[in-house]
Symmetry: C2
C-alpha cells in the first residue's frame, strides 16, 4: 500500500488508490492524509486531490500567489478528477462540483475557510437541475455557493446575504430555509448576484477554474486569519507548518430525505465508553451539523430511518478504529442512501475519555502501554482533578434546564452572553459561564476566558463541544429550552429569566444547568487521595492511577514537590512525589503567631537581642521540620534557607507614613507617634528600590549569620528527633540566590559547623546545595559545583534576571508583547511567543540552564540537578528538563501527577 507520488505538490485520491497515505500528515494535513488512507483501505470516499502544506509556505513567500508550475499541477489533477468522476468542470450537462477545504497537520476545527458546491454557475446549475431533476436543490446549492464564496473569497459581509434570505422568508411567510421553494431560491440567486455586483463592482465569477483558484488562495490566506492565529497560540501550533488544501468532488446530503450528513466518534468522546457515538441530519449539508445551527439526531434514530446506512456506519467505524488503532472522529454524507466518508482523524476527547480509552485499548491489545501513555496528554489528567458539585448542595438547587453533557467537570459563574463580555468579566477576576445560541470559531477567546460554556443549540459534536473538551472547559450543549435574548441581555427558560451577570452552575458530566452559584468539592480522585472515598468505588481513580503507574515505569526524571507544610507534603506523597524539592522556610514565618516574633527579630538593635527572638522562632521551625521529615517517610527534603527581603515581614511603609502624618496633624498621641516614627525609621532602613535585587537570599544569611544558624539548628535538631522514630531523614539544605562560590562556601561552612555541633557522632546524611537563579551562578557553576552537592534551578528568579523582568510588574508589557507582531526574516511573529513565566524560555533561560548544568557537571560529574520554579509543573518545561539531563523536577502537590505523566511521555518520545 506504499504511497505513489505522481508529482511534487499535488496528491490525488480516488477509485481505491491514493498518491499519499495516512502517515503523511505533515505533507497532506490531517484531512488529506485521512482521505488518502481511507481510499487505500477501500472505504467509499469521493475522489479528489490534496495540495500539499508546502504550497502554503511557497504561497506566502511568492507574494501570496501560487507559482505557475504548481497551477499546472493542479490543472492536471482537475483533468484527472474529471476523468475519474466522469464529470466535467463547467460541463453544462454533467458538471463536476467540488468542495475546497483547508486541512493542516494539526486539527484546527472551523478556524479556516471552506467552500462547497464550487463549479456552479448560471450554466451548470441547469445541468444539476436536469441531472437531479430537483431544481429546488440545484438553486439552493447555487445560492449557498454564492453566499459562501462571497464571504470567504470576495469578502462581502455575510450578514447582507443573511438579511436578504430573512427578508425573502418574511415575504414568503416561511420560518425555515427548507420551506423556501424553487422560485424563491432562484430569485434569491439573482438577488445575491446583484449584491456581489454592487459590493465588488464585478459580476460573480462564472468560470469554474477561476472560482477554484480564487478559493484555493482564500483557504491559504485563512491560515493567517485572527482566529487561526489565536488558536495556534492557544495550542502551541507552529505557524510555519501551513495548511494543505483539499479539492474533492461533491456528494450531497441535501438532495432529499434519503440523503443526510453526520459526524461520528467510534467511542464516546466524553466518557470514553466503547460505543458508537454519532449524530446526523437528514437532507442537510455537512456544515449544518458542525456549526450546531440545527440540533442533530442521535445515531440510534437512524436505525429506524435508514437501517441499511446505519449498519454501514457501524461497520465503517469498526474498520476505521481497527485500522487507525485509535478512536476516530469521522464525517460522512449519505447521498441517496449511499454512504460516503469525507474525513477521519483521531477524535478529540475529554481528558477522562482519553485516559479511559487508552486503558481500554491496552486491555483490548489494540495498543501497547507506551502508546497508551503517549495518548494521554498531561492536561487530560488535570480533568480528573477538576472539582465537582457537592451532591448535597446540588440537591438544594432546582434544575433550571438540561442539555447534552459535552465536556466534563462542574462550573459556576456569572452569565456572559457573548465572547467579548466573557473576556471582560474574566479580566475583572470573575468566574464566567459563556451562554450562547451556539458557538462559532470567532468565540474561541471567550471560551478560553470562561470556566464553562452553555449553548442552546448543537450536539455533542458541535463546535462548542469539540473545542470545550479540548480546552478542558466544562460544557453543556443543545439546551434547547434556552432562548437567548441578546437585546435584553438575558436568556429565558420558559418563564424564568436569567440576566447577564447572574450566577448559574453547569454540570458537564450530566448536562444539567442550575440557577445560582453551587459550591464545588474535590474530584473523585482527590476524595480517594484524602480518604473520603474508597479506592474501589471510583472507576475514575482506577483509570487515573493505572495511567500513572504505567507512566512511572517509563519516566527517567524524579518528581518532587514544592511544599512548606506537612499537609501539603503528605498530599504530594500520595500523588507520587518522591521528596520535597523546595520547602520555602519563610512561609513558616508568616503565620499569625510568628510574624510578631519575626518582626521583633528584625527590629532588634543588635545581634544578641536578635538571637533571643531567633531562639523562639527556632522552636517553632523545629516543630515544622519534624512534621515535614515525618511526612517524607524517608524521601529527601530540600530546605531552602530564608530568602525574601526582611521588609516583607514588616508593616507596610506607606501605611506607616500616613499614620504618622495623621498623628502629626492631630497632635493627640505623642507616645504612639514616637513609636511609629521609630518603626518607620527601621522600615526605611530596610526599604529598597528594587527588593527583587536587594538584601535577600544568601545575602541575608551572610550579613546576619545568626539567622542561618538558627535555621540550621532547627533542621538538625528536628532530624535527630525524627530519626529516633526510625524514620530516615535526608535533609538537603539549599542556599538561595548564590552568585559566587564564596557566598556559597560562607554559608556551607556555617551549616557544616552547626551540623557537627548538633549531630556529633550520630549520623545524618545531609547535603548542602544551591539554587541556580542568578545568571552569574550559571557562568561560574563549575566553581560553585566544587563546593555545592546539588543544584536546583530557580527558574522564577532566573527568568526575572535573564530577561530583566520583574514578575510583579511585567504583565503590562508581556501582554502587549504576546499580541504585537513584528516581521523577522519575512515572517510575522509575536514579540514574545509565550509568557516565559509559564513555560521555560528555551533560547534564553534555557541556554543559561544548559550552561549551568554543563559547567556544574564538569567539576562534579554526578551532580544532582533539579528545578523548583513554577516551571517544574509545566509539561513543555518538563520535556526541556528531561532533554537537557536534569535529575528531577519539583512542582506543587497537585501538579505531581501531571509531571509524572509529562516525564514519562518525553522519555517515550526520545526512546
Amino acid at each position: 500500500m506504499g504511497a505513489k507520488k505522481n508529482n511534487n505538490f499535488v496528491y490525488f485520491f480516488g477509485n481505491k488508490k491514493a498518491d499519499g497515505k495516512g502517515s503523511m500528515k505533515e505533507v497532506l494535513g490531517g484531512k488529506g492524509a485521512g482521505l488518502a488512507e481511507m481510499t487505500e483501505i477501500g472505504i467509499n470516499v469521493p475522489p479528489g486531490f490534496t495540495i500539499s502544506t508546502a504550497v502554503c509556505g511557497i504561497f506566502y513567500e511568492n507574494k501570496k500567489s501560487i507559482p505557475a508550475e504548481i497551477i499546472d499541477e493542479i490543472t492536471k489533477n482537475i483533468i484527472k478528477l474529471e476523468s475519474s468522476t466522469k464529470k466535467g468542470f463547467g460541463d453544462s450537462k454533467n458538471p463536476l462540483l467540488v468542495s475546497v477545504r483547508s486541512g493542516a497537520m494539526f486539527s484546527m476545527p472551523g478556524m479556516m475557510d471552506t467552500i462547497l458546491n464550487l463549479g456552479l454557475n448560471d450554466k451548470t446549475v441547469q445541468g444539476i437541475i436536469k441531472k437531479t431533476n430537483n431544481p429546488r436543490f440545484a438553486w439552493d446549492s447555487y445560492r449557498r455557493f454564492i453566499q459562501m464564496f462571497s464571504d470567504v473569497v470576495l469578502k462581502v459581509n455575510k450578514d447582507i446575504f443573511e438579511d436578504k434570505l430573512e427578508s425573502i422568508k418574511k415575504k414568503k411567510n416561511v420560518k425555515h430555509d427548507v420551506d423556501l421553494d424553487e422560485n424563491a431560491l432562484k430569485s434569491l440567486v439573482q438577488e445575491y448576484k446583484k449584491i456581489v455586483k454592487n459590493k465588488t463592482g464585478k459580476n460573480f465569477p462564472q468560470n469554474p477554474s477561476d472560482q477554484l483558484f480564487k478559493a484555493i488562495n482564500a483557504v491559504f490566506l485563512s491560515w493567517n486569519n485572527q482566529r487561526a492565529i489565536f488558536y495556534r497560540k492557544q495550542y502551541d501550533i507552529p505557524s510555519e507548518i501551513g495548511t494543505a488544501v483539499n479539492v474533492q468532488s461533491m456528494v450531497f446530503g441535501n438532495m432529499g430525505d434519503d440523503c443526510g450528513t453526520g459526524v461520528g466518534f467510534t467511542r464516546d468522546p466524553l466518557s470514553g465508553e466503547k460505543e458508537l457515538f454519532a449524530e446526523y441530519l437528514l437532507n442537510a449539508q455537512g456544515e449544518d451539523v458542525v456549526a450546531g445551527i440545527r440540533t442533530p439526531k442521535n445515531i440510534k434514530t437512524m436505525q429506524r430511518e435508514l437501517r441499511k446506512v446505519h449498519s454501514q456506519i457501524e461497520n465503517t467505524a469498526k474498520i476505521l478504529e481497527k485500522h487507525f488503532r485509535d478512536m476516530q472522529d469521522f464525517e460522512f454524507t449519505i447521498e441517496n442512501e449511499k454512504l460516503y466518508l469525507l474525513q477521519t482523524r483521531s477524535g478529540k476527547r475529554s481528558g477522562i475519555a482519553a485516559a479511559k480509552i487508552a486503558c481500554d485499548m491496552v486491555k483490548e491489545t489494540l495498543i501497547s502501554k507506551d502508546e497508551a501513555v503517549l495518548r494521554v496528554e498531561p492536561e487530560h489528567l488535570e480533568q480528573f482533578l477538576f472539582p465537582i458539585f457537592n451532591p448535597d448542595d446540588k440537591k438544594k438547587f432546582e434544575i433550571l434546564t438540561k442539555g447534552l453533557a459535552a465536556s466534563p467537570g462542574a462550573a459556576s459563574g456569572k452569565v456572559a452572553l457573548d465572547a467579548q463580555t466573557a473576556v471582560e468579566l474574566s479580566k475583572k477576576g470573575e468566574r464566567v459561564i459563556l451562554v450562547t445560541k451556539e458557538t462559532s470559531p470567532d468565540d474561541i477567546h471567550g471560551m478560553a476566558a470562561a470556566a464553562g460554556v452553555l449553548t442552546a443549540r448543537g450536539g455533542r459534536t458541535s463546535h462548542a463541544a469539540v473545542v470545550g473538551r479540548q480546552m478542558g472547559k466544562v460544557c453543556v450543549v443543545g439546551a434547547e429550552e434556552i432562548k437567548v435574548n441578546i437585546k435584553e441581555r438575558n436568556f429565558t427558560v420558559f418563564d424564568k429569566i436569567v440576566n447577564e451577570g447572574d450566577y448559574i452552575s453547569i454540570d458537564g458530566f450530566e448536562g444539567k444547568v442550575f440557577p445560582g452559584d453551587i459550591p464545588v468539592v474535590a474530584s473523585e480522585v482527590i476524595q480517594v487521595m484524602q480518604g473520603n472515598m474508597k479506592e474501589i468505588s471510583s472507576e475514575r481513580y482506577k483509570i487515573f492511577s493505572t495511567i500513572l503507574k504505567w507512566a512511572d515505569s517509563f519516566r527517567k526524571l524524579n518528581i518532587r514537590t514544592n511544599a512548606d507544610v506537612p499537609a501539603d507534603a503528605a498530599t504530594a506523597i500520595k500523588f507520587g512525589a518522591e521528596g520535597i524539592g523546595l520547602c520555602r522556610t519563610e512561609h513558616m514565618f508568616f503565620a499569625e503567631d510568628r510574624i510578631k516574633i519575626m518582626q521583633e527579630m528584625i527590629l532588634s538593635k543588635n545581634s544578641s537581642e536578635r538571637i533571643v527572638h531567633l531562639d523562639k522562632l527556632k522552636k517553632m521551625q523545629k516543630e515544622d521540620f519534624i512534621g515535614l521529615f515525618t511526612s517524607m517517610e524517608g524521601f529527601p527534603c530540600t530546605i531552602r534557607l530564608l530568602d525574601p527581603p526582611l521588609h516583607e515581614f514588616l508593616p507596610n511603609r506607606e501605611d506607616l507614613m500616613l499614620e504618622i502624618k495623621e498623628l502629626q496633624i492631630k497632635e493627640d498621641n505623642a507616645i504612639l507617634l514616637k513609636e511609629k516614627i521609630e518603626l518607620l525609621e527601621r522600615v526605611e532602613e530596610l526599604h529598597e528600590f528594587n527588593p527583587m535585587l536587594g538584601l535577600r537570599g544568601c545575602r541575608l544569611g551572610i550579613t546576619m549569620p545568626e539567622i542561618t544558624k538558627m535555621q540550621v539548628q532547627a533542621i538538625f535538631e528536628a532530624a535527630i528527633e525524627v530519626e529516633k522514630k526510625k524514620i530516615k531523614v535526608l535533609p538537603e539544605i539549599m542556599i538561595p540566590l548564590v552568585g559566587m562560590v564564596t557566598e556559597f562556601k560562607y554559608q556551607k561552612d556555617i551549616v557544616d559547623e552547626i551540623a557537627k555541633k548538633i549531630v556529633g557522632k550520630k549520623k545524618i546524611n545531609y547535603l548542602v546545595g544551591t539554587m541556580i537563579e542568578v545568571p552569574r551562578a550559571a557562568a561560574v557553576a563549575d566553581k560553585i559545583a566544587k563546593e555545592a552537592e546539588f543544584f536546583s534551578f530557580g527558574t522564577n528568579d532566573l527568568t526575572q534576571t535573564v530577561f530583566a523582568y520583574s514578575r510583579d510588574d511585567a504583565a503590562k508589557f508581556i501582554n502587549k508583547y504576546l499580541e504585537t507582531k513584528v516581521n523577522i526574516d519575512g515572517k510575522d511573529i509575536e514579540i514574545l511567543e509565550k509568557d516565559p513565566f509559564t513555560s521555560i524560555d528555551r533560547d534564553g533561560v534555557g541556554e543559561f540552564m544548559k550552561l549551568g548544568l554543563s559547567k556544574g557537571r564538569s567539576s562534579r560529574k554526578n551532580l544532582k540537578i533539579g528545578i523548583c520554579g513554577e516551571h517544574g509543573g509545566d509539561p513543555s518545561s518538563i520535556e526541556f528538563c528531561h532533554n537537557i539531563g536534569l535529575n528531577y523536577v519539583s512542582c506543587s502537590p497537585f501538579r505531581v501527577p501531571i509531571a509524572r505523566l509529562a516525564a514519562a511521555r518525553v522519555a517515550l518520545k526520545n526512546k
Copy 2:
C-alpha cells in the same frame, strides 16, 4: 652577569656576586632583586641573602612553619655570610649582626615587619662594646633590638617599652633618646628584659639562630596582618604572591657623627625635576627617616657635613638611574664615612612627576616612547586634572603655617586628628584633612578616606609622603610649627588653635597650610582646555598632551564619551574623544522647562493627546541634537532612545500620598484634593515594585511607539539641519534594554520608516544598534546581530542583572562582602574581591560580554562593539575590553584622557 642559582629557595649576595638578579622580583621580591642587582654592578651593599617568595606560600601551607630542608638551606647561607663578613653569629668577640626585612614583588612600604640588630644578646653586646669602643651605641642597639623583636615576634605591646623609655628620660631629666647615656641604656636593657619575662613568662631569647628563625616566621606572618591586607586590596596586589625575607649583615648609621642614614630619589618625586632629592639623619638608624619621627636634613647640607660621602651619593644615584633606566628610590647608610646601599627600587612618584620623568627620559634617550607610556599609570594622569586653589581666593586667606609639599593638588576639608575619625567623617560625606604628628602604616585607611594629609613631622620621603603620592592624596609633611594635642582634640600653631572638625586647606604644590575652606578651581590642564590659559604657558599641559599623543599612536581601542549636552560633548572632544558613545536622551527631559511637558505627556489619557505634548518635546529635542551633532564635528554620535521608567518624571508617590492625607484631614480644599487624587492614581498605575526590571527601555518604545517616533523624528530633522551647515552627521541610534531580536526589530522598523519619511532622497549615514545589558541579549546575540548594526555593552545594567544586584540597594551587602573572608581551596579570600560596579567582574559579567561578542560577530563579522557603562572609564575594565576585542569604550568626558592612556598601555603590554 647571569644569575647563578646555588639552591632552591635561598639566594646569596655579597662581594660583587649574587645568586639572583634584578629581573627576579617575582622570586626575590623587589628589595631582594635590587640588592642582588646592585651587588652585581659593584655598588657597595652589605652582604646577605634572600629567602624567596615561594617559601612564603610553603610556610602557610605547612601550618605556618618552615620545612626542615629550607631551614637547612638558610643555615648554610648563614655560614656563608659568616665567612663573607668574617664575623660569627653569636661570636662574643666579633659578632655578626643582621637585619631581617620583608620584601614582596610589589612595594608595600611599611606594611610588613622588620627587625634590626638581630644577633645581639648579653654576650655579643660585649663584643660590640669592645669592637666599637662605644658602649653607649652597643647598649642602645641592644635595647632597640629587644624592643623591636618583642613587638614583632613576641607580640608584647610596644607602648610598654615606650613608657619605660619615657620614664627613664624623665628620671634622667633628658628630652631626647640620644641624650641618654651608656648607663641609662644599660639599665633600660635590664628593664626591657624584665618586661619580656613578665609578659611572656620566658627570658628574652639569647640564641642568635633561634632569634633569626623566629624573626623570619614573624615576617612571613606579617604578610597577612590587617594593614598589609588592606594595602593589597587598595592596590589590587594578589595575596598569593607572598613576600620574600632578606637577611642582611648590619651596618650602623648610629655609631657617631660620621655615621648616618638616609633615603634618596634620583629625581624629585613630587615635581619630576631632574635633581637628586635625598634626606638624611646623622647618627641614626634607617627607620628613623622613614617613620618620620625626626625630620631629616636635606641632602644639600651634607655637602658641608660630609662632603666626600655627598659626592659618593650623587655618583651612585647616577649609576643607579642609568643602570635601571628609571628614577630610583634608594636607602643608604653611612658607617664611619663609608657609604652602603641597602635598597634600590623604582621610586614612587606623584602623577605629575611620573609623566614629567617619562617625557624627560624620552628626551634623554634613556627610554623609548613605549616605555614612557607604560611608566605613566592612568591614575597618574588624573592628577593633572585635580583642582587647584583659586589664586585670588587664596590671597584672601592668611597662611597658617608651611610644611614640605609632598603630594600635589589642593584640598580643603574638616580636620580629623586620627585615621578612625577621618573614616567616620568621610562616611558622613564630609571632605576631610587628616592631621597627625606623623602617619604610620596603621593609618592607611584614614589616608584613603581623606582628601589630604598634613603631618607635623617627616620629610618628603616619609611614609605619609610616599603613600600620599601613590594614592594621589594631597599631602603636606613636616609642618613643624604644628603641635597636635590629641587629648584636647585640636592642634596649635603658636597661639592659634584649630579644633578637630574646623576647616583647613592645604596646597600640595607649595606646602602651604591655610585656615578655612578655600574654594578650588580647575587645574591648569583644564584651564587650557577651556581656553582660560594659553597652551604655551603651561608646562603641565605640555607634559600631559605629550604622553597622550604618544598613547594615541599605540592604542587600538577607540575612545568615545558619554555626553548628553553639547557643552560636555565639546569638552570630551577637546580631551580627545572620537565620538559620543552614549547620549542619554532622558536627561534632556529633566530640565525645568521640559519636565512639565514630559509629565503632561505621561499623564495623557490617550495616544492623540500624548502626541500633542510629544510634538512640543520634539522641538526641544531637535535643538539638543543640532547642538550635539554640531559639537561632534563629524564624529559618530550614539543616541540612546528613552530608557528610564516614566514614573521617574512624575511627582514622588509618597509625597502625593501624604499631601492627600493632609488635605483629607484638613478638609479645606476639595478641588486640590480631587486633582491630587487623580494624579496619584496615574502615578500608582505607573508605580512598580522593581522599576529596574519594569516598563523601561525598549519596552516603553514598544508599548508607546509614539515616543520612539518623536525621538527619531527629532534626530533626523536635526541631522538634516546640521548637514546643511556642511558638518557630517553620523547618528547611531541605540535601542535600550533589548532581550529579544523581536523587540529590536520592532523598534528598528520604526526608525527606518521615520528615516525614510524625513530624509527622503537626501543621504544620512545612520546605524541602528542595541545595548547589550540584559543577560538574555548575550545568549541570543547571534540573532540580534542579524538585525542590529552595532552593540554597546551597558555594563551598569548588565552587572545588575548578572548578579541580581540593585545598584541603588546593594551597598549594604557589597560593603560587607568586600570585608568578609571565606576559605576556598585553603585560602582566605573576600566574598567579593572588588566592587563589580567599579571594575568589570570578569568571571561573571565578563563571561557574558565574551558570549555576546562571539555570538554577535558569528552572524555579523565586523560588528562594531563598544561599552558605555561606568566601566568605560576604569583602566582595568578598559584592559579587559581591549583583550576581548571591543572596538571602543565610552566614558565620561573627564575620563577620556585616562581611557586613552589605559587603552595604549594594554595595547603595548600585549605587543
